[in-house]
């Protein structure tokens, strides 16, 4: 689940390293614009993945073994992008040169890809400072390449903007099918490109340079940003001739409001000897509107001419500036009568640099991999003006880091409608109430996370400091733990303890289950999965229980809601089990310990006994106490010593452990590990089991599949439970057959009270 806040609130703490990992830099590209320069480089970073220890030496408590943990070290690729004002180019190049000591020799004779208007002007400087030969790349093709890359890879890269709307920002998911679209680059002038081929279809000279140039003539503002600030304060109605100035009021017959601009700067023309009557702020605002409206109109004309309905904007003019984006959006919508959509890019300033880099890096095969923004190393949404400071030089910079996923990902083959699949059940970018609740919760839970992290590395002197830094950073961007391979897993020790405890109970539990009559057993198996799902360190309500009481499996069973559950498809499921066995089940598992060992394992074992193959799907990277793939392998090995059926199934290959390529508590089935997706197809999975709030409720609750699906979760969050119409620890047990919508619709309505208010608003309009 992604979380967003107003971009203004995002500020990067000073502790973040600028020009990170420069020593490992492999390849450079540079985009030198008239005002801003962007340097791109590629580096490798070592990701450490902790190996779960299968065999422990006797007599040692788990907590003392930190130093003996085995790490799997993998080499990951990371793209770094640094942005600064072109006037600092010398200092920045110096900084790069000094810090390249390790690799300088290797760099000699190599090429730096350069693009942008300044590529010509600074060729010599680049050669002299870095010892690289300069290879100039066409600006437009770099822009397109960069734009394609971002749209395909970076989630929520593109967004629509509606000022004072709720939400103001509407984000668009990363999507491999991005074509065709129109790219409008508003630099000094405006270039308009049609992107499915690479074709410049037009442009206009009225662009950012016009705003800046005319603005410099009309006001005393120094620079682009001061002009924008002025425009924020001004009132264009003092300068522009409005409909009402000509008609005396609204032009009702035509439905034209009186404040529509009829003639930009029209009021400035009436024999004024004294120009001081116009305030600079008013002039700047009028100018901003003039340019933005015009660009929007020209863009929509081109879009209509080429029958395209999506227009993305790049270039230095917009800079995610709300007023400009609003005017452009308004203009496009107006002139296209709503047919054309204006979309903006969070990293618009980096398009050229990304493109130039990719041109020189074709051997890295960017297309083959998936890339993810490393939020921890990137500046926030609104960072038109570099705000961080390059330490010694005092140069303000801004940065973006993008990591390569270690495995290729793809859509889950069982999705009914992959093109329209949205994992999130409640979109926090659109649901203000939900967003506020969750952001608050995330902030609180970070404390717990930090404490765990420190405990997991008791011998590390820097653990405390690092945990603190992590906490600060996380809070500062209010971005939950979804992202990213941290080099260590703070819950590792806790998970190990939980698993050991649960494995100790497994044999007895299986014996008990086997003794039950068939129907009761099926019911017990499902309720055990649900009881197990209570053991979740990510849920505040449960974390408190587990920390303060001796909370066991039976306690958990007594906590959850009695039947009938909030969503109760158990009887249907049991009816189904009376029929023929499934070919293969894919189970997306949740928590370590009780959840997996006493909940999922017996359930999977039952399926195996029916002759159903089982693929257990675990996270690739750690998130809270969720089972990771590496742990899963070990636990299964241990369970095999307890249970003969599991042992045989593993040997026969009817029980498989696979990784999902996910690293968070939620499940995005549009980014599934390619191998897993292939396995799901080849084994002909006809039953999908999604377990836990993150996988079955926050995401995928509304997703439809081509096969049967069982969604199981305990709603451990009071707020959400209430919103769904139940109490804390209400149970979701949703059994769906393909082409069947059961209970989904009514639940959907309950989940989103916000759309109802939206509808009301619509009526008012």
């Amino acid at each position: 689940m992604d979380t967003k806040s107003h971009p203004k609130s995002i500020k990067l703490p000073d502790t973040v390293e600028v020009f990170g990992n420069l020593k490992n830099a492999k390849r450079f590209a540079i985009d030198i614009g008239g005002s801003l320069t962007k340097i791109a480089y590629y580096s490798t970073v070592s990701h450490r993945r902790v190996f779960y220890e299968a065999e422990k030496e006797n007599g040692k408590s788990p907590s003392s073994e930190e130093d003996n943990l085995v790490y799997e070290v993998s080499e990951g690729a990371r793209l770094h992008f640094i942005k600064f004002e072109t006037k600092y180019i010398e200092s920045c190049l110096d900084f790069v040169r000094v810090n390249l000591v390790n690799t300088r020799e290797k760099m000699l004779g190599k090429v730096i890809k350069a693009t942008g208007g300044g590529a010509y002007k600074y060729t010599e400087l680049l050669q002299q400072k870095l010892g690289l030969s300069v290879d100039k790349e066409d600006e437009m093709s770099c822009l397109i390449k960069g734009c394609n890359f971002l749209l395909k890879n970076i989630s929520d890269e593109a967004f629509m903007f509606q000022r004072h709307g709720n939400p103001e920002y509407k984000f668009q998911n990363a999507d491999p099918n991005i074509f065709p679209y129109l790219l409008v680059n508003i630099g000094s002038g405006v270039s308009i490109m049609k992107c499915d081929s690479y074709e410049r279809i037009g442009g206009t000279a009225t662009g950012g340079g016009t705003f800046w140039g005319l603005g410099s003539l009309l006001t005393k503002a120094k620079g682009f940003d001061e002009l924008l600030e002025l425009a924020e304060k001004g009132d264009h109605r003092n300068v522009d001739m409005l409909v009402r100035d000509i008609y005396g009021g609204d032009y009702k017959t035509l439905g034209l409001p009186g404040d529509l601009i009829a003639s930009s700067f029209g009021k400035a023309m009436h024999n004024h000897k004294d120009h001081t009557q116009f305030s600079e702020a008013d002039l700047a605002r009028s100018l901003l509107f003039t340019i933005s409206n015009d660009v929007g109109q020209v863009a929509s004309l081109y879009a209509m001419m080429h029958k395209l309905n999506k227009v993305y904007f790049g270039g230095y003019f917009l800079r995610n500036h709300p007023l400009s984006m609003h005017t452009v959006s308004f203009s496009i919508n107006y002139w296209s009568k709503g047919q054309v959509q204006a979309l903006f890019l969070r990293h618009e300033g980096y398009l050229g640099a990304i493109g130039a880099f990719l041109k020189g890096a074709e051997e890295y095969d960017a297309d083959k991999y998936s890339w993810l923004e490393n939020y921890a190393g990137s500046s926030g949404l609104r960072s038109p003006i570099p705000t961080q400071v390059l330490s010694e030089q005092g140069v303000p910079v801004d940065q973006l880091e993008i990591d390569r996923w270690e495995s290729a990902v793809t859509y889950c083959p069982l999705l009914l409608d992959p093109a329209n699949y949205v994992p999130d059940t409640v979109d926090l970018t659109q649901d203000t109430e939900a967003r506020e609740y969750w952001l608050q919760l995330f902030e609180e839970i970070l404390d717990k996370f930090a404490v765990r992290a420190i405990q997991s590395q008791p011998h590390s002197d820097t653990a405390k400091e690092r945990a603190q830094k992590f906490k600060e950073k996380s809070i500062s961007r209010l971005h939950y733990l979804k992202h990213q391979p941290f080099a260590f897993d703070p819950y590792l020790v806790q998970k190990q303890m939980d698993n050991d405890k649960a494995l100790g109970l497994l044999a007895k539990r299986l014996e008990y289950l086997d003794g039950l009559e068939w129907c009761t057993r099926q019911e017990t198996l499902i309720s055990s999965v649900l009881a197990g799902n209570m053991f979740d360190w990510g849920a505040r309500e449960v974390a408190d229980l587990m920390e303060n009481t001796d909370f066991g499996f039976n306690e958990a069973r007594s906590k959850i809601q009695a039947r009938p559950w909030l969503v109760d498809g158990l009887d249907e499921w049991i009816d189904r089990l009376k029929g023929p066995p499934h070919k293969c089940a894919a189970i997306f598992i949740d928590n370590s310990g009780m959840d997996f060992v006493l909940g999922i394992l017996p359930f999977a074992r039952e399926l195996l006994q029916r002759g159903t193959k089982v693929i257990l799907c675990a996270n690739s990277a750690p998130a809270l106490n969720d089972v990771t793939y590496l742990e899963l392998v070990v636990i299964l090995k241990q369970a095999a010593t307890v249970c003969q059926i599991i042992h045989e199934s593993l040997n026969k290959g009817t029980l498989l452990a696979m990784e999902t390529a996910q690293g968070g508590p939620s499940l995005d089935l549009s980014r599934l590990n390619l191998d897993l997706a292939k396995a799901m197809s080849s084994h002909e999975v006809d039953l999908l089991v999604l377990e836990g709030m993150g996988r079955a409720l926050h995401t995928n609750l509304l997703a439809k599949f081509t096969c049967e699906c069982l969604k199981l979760a305990v709603i451990k969050n009071r707020w959400l439970a209430t919103r769904l119409g139940g109490d804390t620890f209400s149970v979701l047990c949703k059994y769906e057959r393909p082409n069947e919508v059961k209970g989904g619709e009514s639940l959907k309505l309950k989940i989103c009270p916000v759309p109802c208010t939206k509808e009301t608003t619509k009526i008012h309009i």
């Binding site: 000094s188 800046w212 017959t253 009829a262 003639s263 029209g266 120009h275 002039l283």
Partner: protein, 418 residues
Amino acid sequence: LNIYGCLSCPGVLMGPHICKDCLRGQIMAGSSQDDFRVPAVENGYGEGDNSIPLMPWFGMDIGGTLSKLVYFEPKDITPDEADTEAEVLKNIRRYLTKNSAYGKTGHRDTHLQMDNVIIRGRRGTLHFIRFPTSEMGNFLLLAKLKGMATLVTTVSATGGGAYKFEENFRKTLNMKNNIEVLNSNMKYEVRCMLYIETNNPSECYYWANPTEDERCEKRFYDFSEPYPFLIVNIGSGVSVLAVYGPGNYKRISGTSLGGGTFLGLCCLLTGCNTFEEAIDLATGGDNTRVDKLVRDIYGGDYERFGLPGDLVASSFGQMNSKEKRARVTKEDLARATLVTITNNIGSIARMCALNEKIERVVFVGNFLRVNPISMKLLAHAMDYWSRGTLKALFLEHEGYFGAVGCLLEYNTYRYSHS
């Protein structure tokens, strides 16, 4: 107050508007002659009729910047008629036709005068007069002084100002009856344009070799097969109208970057006061000292995309530099403003034409008055970017179509209600 027809105001509104919605207006107006090509004498304007309004005949178009007044001077006055003619009427005629300047700001465009035209069966001369809309108060006082109030019961006016100043007309001229606000149904404008074109064979022209100073010349264009065509009316703002056939047209676009923007910016940047001054300044200036050209960025042509080096890449693109600001003259700035506005209009007009699949674009409006620089730029831009498929056309009476339309419609309107 009677308002009918499509109420789009030429040169003023930004909004796209479809005039088909206004069939109601046409029906109300009762005019069925939508074939504008019918010669004036036969098209209903020329027929003698009892309902012919009393002289004097005026048409007005009150725009955001300029007000246009068209006056019909009858030349076929019989001695009998002359005897009974009111003294006031004679005075008005004498005042308007013997002068070419009225007060400080009123002008009669004598070169546009159309002799020997027939309207409502009367033969006479059309006079074209303009004054700044800001002088409307003075104009009304003058009209009162000349005794208009005693003669005129109805003023036929169009343009946004027809609404705004309606009350002023009523009060100042003490009119008892209606003020007809023929609010610029584009139809009247189109009809009038074709009417004038029919009466004046040299009305429509184009610029040959617009980029070559020596070979550049105006050439008459035979507009007898007009459809379809685009009208781009450049007043304070810009309206774009597509005309597909007789009575079949719609307003398809417009922009707020028009003549008002040019003059407004010029006044701010150079301290000039009038359109003529601004055009004079621009004539002596060089925009390449202000704008950033393709060659300023790429060192020459941007061959990859066929962009010539002398193409403007960024209007005013050099002016963010303090040093360069210090070097430019008022003339350069005026020229750059003119080029910016003109090119922008040209590119919007061109795309509208492409979207509508129309090849002839007629530019009208007072922005083009005494402004060959813009006309040549438009002519060149249309030709260059369309590789010769689009033709930019111009009309001698570029700014007066709304006013003449009023003068003509005045009659039709009275028909239907009498």
